[in-house]
């Protein structure tokens, strides 16, 4: 399954000139993994949620109602994860800021 959907080939060095670079992204799927693939463009994804997000962003005008619903729920779930990430990031920033403030006061 390796390079199953590699569309731009491995010869990046040969793609000179100014052809449109719409998608020169190469994919490399480990042989022991089974990706979910986009039925519209064949791009492999690690999870159904990422596939749903991709479909909603890239193929928004052609997807079915079910796929639209899957996108919405994946987006919603991701927003929740993102809120938790932001809280952690904020905590780290605060620790960095006051940590350095204290260290500079002591040194």
């Amino acid at each position: 399954m390796t390079d199953a959907t590699q569309r731009s080939g491995d010869g990046f060095g040969e793609t000179h000139g100014d052809e449109t670079d719409d998608d020169r992204t190469a994919y490399d799927v480990p042989s022991d993994e089974t990706p979910v693939e986009c039925t519209y463009c064949g791009r492999p994804f690690e999870s159904d949620a990422l596939l749903a997000l991709h479909r909603g962003q890239v193929h928004a005008d052609v997807i079915t109602d079910d796929e639209r619903a899957a996108y919405d729920s994946a987006h919603e779930a991701e927003s929740g994860q993102l809120r938790r990430f932001r809280l952690k990031a904020l905590a780290v920033l605060v620790v960095i800021y006051f940590g350095f403030l204290m260290v500079y006061a002591l040194v």
Binding site: E78, A89, L93
Partner: protein, 460 residues
């Protein structure tokens, strides 16, 4: 004592704040600073490195709060195509100017004053070209294709148009860049005008021969390291060219978040550009002197010390960067190939390279402006021109350059990740390894600039 001694009067730049130590390269290039800056620096080295690293990591965390795709896109758009009706005339003037300057450098290098500061070849090449012109390529836009005197000369010569082996890709230009910087470090290019002129002559011979054999388009887009440096710097600049070739105005740094590079060979050039800046400072540290003595004690030939260090350091940098690209597949997670990740996340590093260039050369350039004026008005007189004394607060501008470069790089990498990945959290996580590399690079650079400057060991 090579380029470092060219401007001995710049000690005055005070290093006030912690990160101000970043400003030291200004002096490292301008004068033998010795312990001057460190005496005024009361913060211990470990804390300074930690602060630099935390500044980069913290900027990334701040950038991670921007997850709105339309907002990120809006930041990058706003490109405006410009009309430049006089462009052919400007090109003609720029080309002629380039050729005249090249001839002037060659002539005055051989017959001009031997005092480096009075010699137009030395002052024009280092102050005018490598400091001043290079800054214009990333602060304004890359005009090198129009100015490049060798291109102008070649256009008057026949074109054999031999086909270039594409599989070499950008590697010859990587080798060329490493070789040029090696020559710059080990030879008295800034002290002996004749040596400089001979080097320029050698470069001219190679460049003209190559451009005639392979055709100027191929040569200057693929092989010539100088043209590539300026083209890559130009990607950071606000003025550039749209896909149809017409001039455009864009937000500075927005171009480095697009898919600029053709392959891992071009990624290697970006990494080499960062590495040569570091190499220049590293070989003046006591640590390098210790390593060099130890190696020679083991029987390592002294003549191969600098080429060996140049290659080993480049291999280390490139290896670490590729490792980061590999790890990004896992942290994201994603099936996007390592080569694609390496290619897409490399252009933002150009902003960092530009930032360090500002820190190195802005003060140097300004201090040399009187010498530059003299070089143009009285090219053959030994006048010992004064050095412009750069005020103490100027160190802050150098810091702003380094921080600004990092900030642009982080934002560009962020935009790149959102372009590549459907998941917002995935896009943030994909950057972890690259941010780790940036933090390490910042700390390594800070470590180098806080070491005492020692004479380069094992050089004649």
């Amino acid at each position: 004592m090579r380029r470092r001694a060219l401007v001995p009067g710049l000690r005055a730049v005070a290093v006030a704040s912690v990160l101000a130590a970043v400003a030291r390269p200004v002096l490292a290039h301008g004068g033998s600073l010795g312990g001057g800056a460190r005496e005024s620096l009361t913060v211990p080295t470990w804390l300074m490195l930690a602060t630099g690293g935390a500044a980069v990591g913290g900027s990334f965390l701040l950038a991670s709060f921007a997850t709105d795709r339309s907002a990120i896109d809006a930041l990058l758009d706003g490109r405006r195509t410009l009309r430049l009706p006089v462009e052919p005339a400007l090109r003609l003037v720029a080309g002629a100017l380039g050729v005249v300057v090249l001839l002037g450098v060659l002539v005055t290098g051989y017959v001009g004053p031997t005092d480096p500061l009075s010699n137009p070849a030395v002052v024009v090449v280092w102050g005018g070209w490598w400091a001043g012109f290079a800054m214009s390529t990333y602060l304004v836009g890359n005009t090198w294709p129009a100015v490049n005197p060798w291109r102008t000369v070649v256009s008057a010569l026949p074109d054999f148009g031999r086909s270039y082996r594409w599989r070499f890709g950008a590697w010859p230009s990587v080798a060329g860049l490493l070789a040029l910087v090696w020559i710059e470090v080990v030879s008295p290019l800034a002290d002996e005008p004749a040596v400089l002129a001979t080097t320029v002559l050698g470069y001219s011979a190679v460049t003209l021969a190559g451009a005639v054999v392979y055709g100027p388009e191929t040569w200057f887009s693929e092989v010539d390291p100088v043209a590539r440096v300026f083209r890559y710097y130009g990607a950071v600049a606000p003025f550039g060219r749209a896909e149809d070739g017409s001039p455009e105005l864009r937000p500075p740094g927005s171009a480095v978040s697009s898919d600029l590079l053709d392959g891992v060979d071009e990624v290697a050039f970006v990494v080499a550009l960062l590495w040569v800046t570091t190499f220049d400072g590293f070989v003046a540290t006591p640590a390098w002197r210790t390593v060099a003595r130890w190696l020679v004690g083991l029987g390592y030939p002294p003549a191969l010390l600098y080429p060996g260090a140049m290659l080993a350091g480049f291999a280390l940098f490139f290896g670490l960067y590729l490792l980061a690209a590999r790890l990004a597949r896992r942290t994201a997670p994603t099936y996007v190939a390592t080569a694609t990740l390496a290619r897409r996340f490399a252009p933002p590093l150009l902003a960092i390279a530009a930032g360090y260039h500002v820190a190195h050369f802005l003060g140097y350039f300004l201090s040399l402006t009187p010498a530059l004026l003299t070089a143009v008005t009285a090219p053959l007189a030994t006048v010992n021109p004064p050095l412009l004394v750069v005020p103490g607060w100027f160190g802050g501008v150098a810091i702003a350059g380094v921080l600004g470069g990092h900030l642009v790089a982080i934002l560009a990498a962020h935009a790149t990740a959102f372009d590549l990945f459907p998941g917002r959290l995935q896009a943030i996580r994909s950057q972890y390894p690259f941010i780790a590399v940036m933090v390490c690079y910042t700390m390594a650079s800070l470590w180098i600039v806080t070491r005492p400057d020692v004479p380069l060991p094992y050089l004649p």
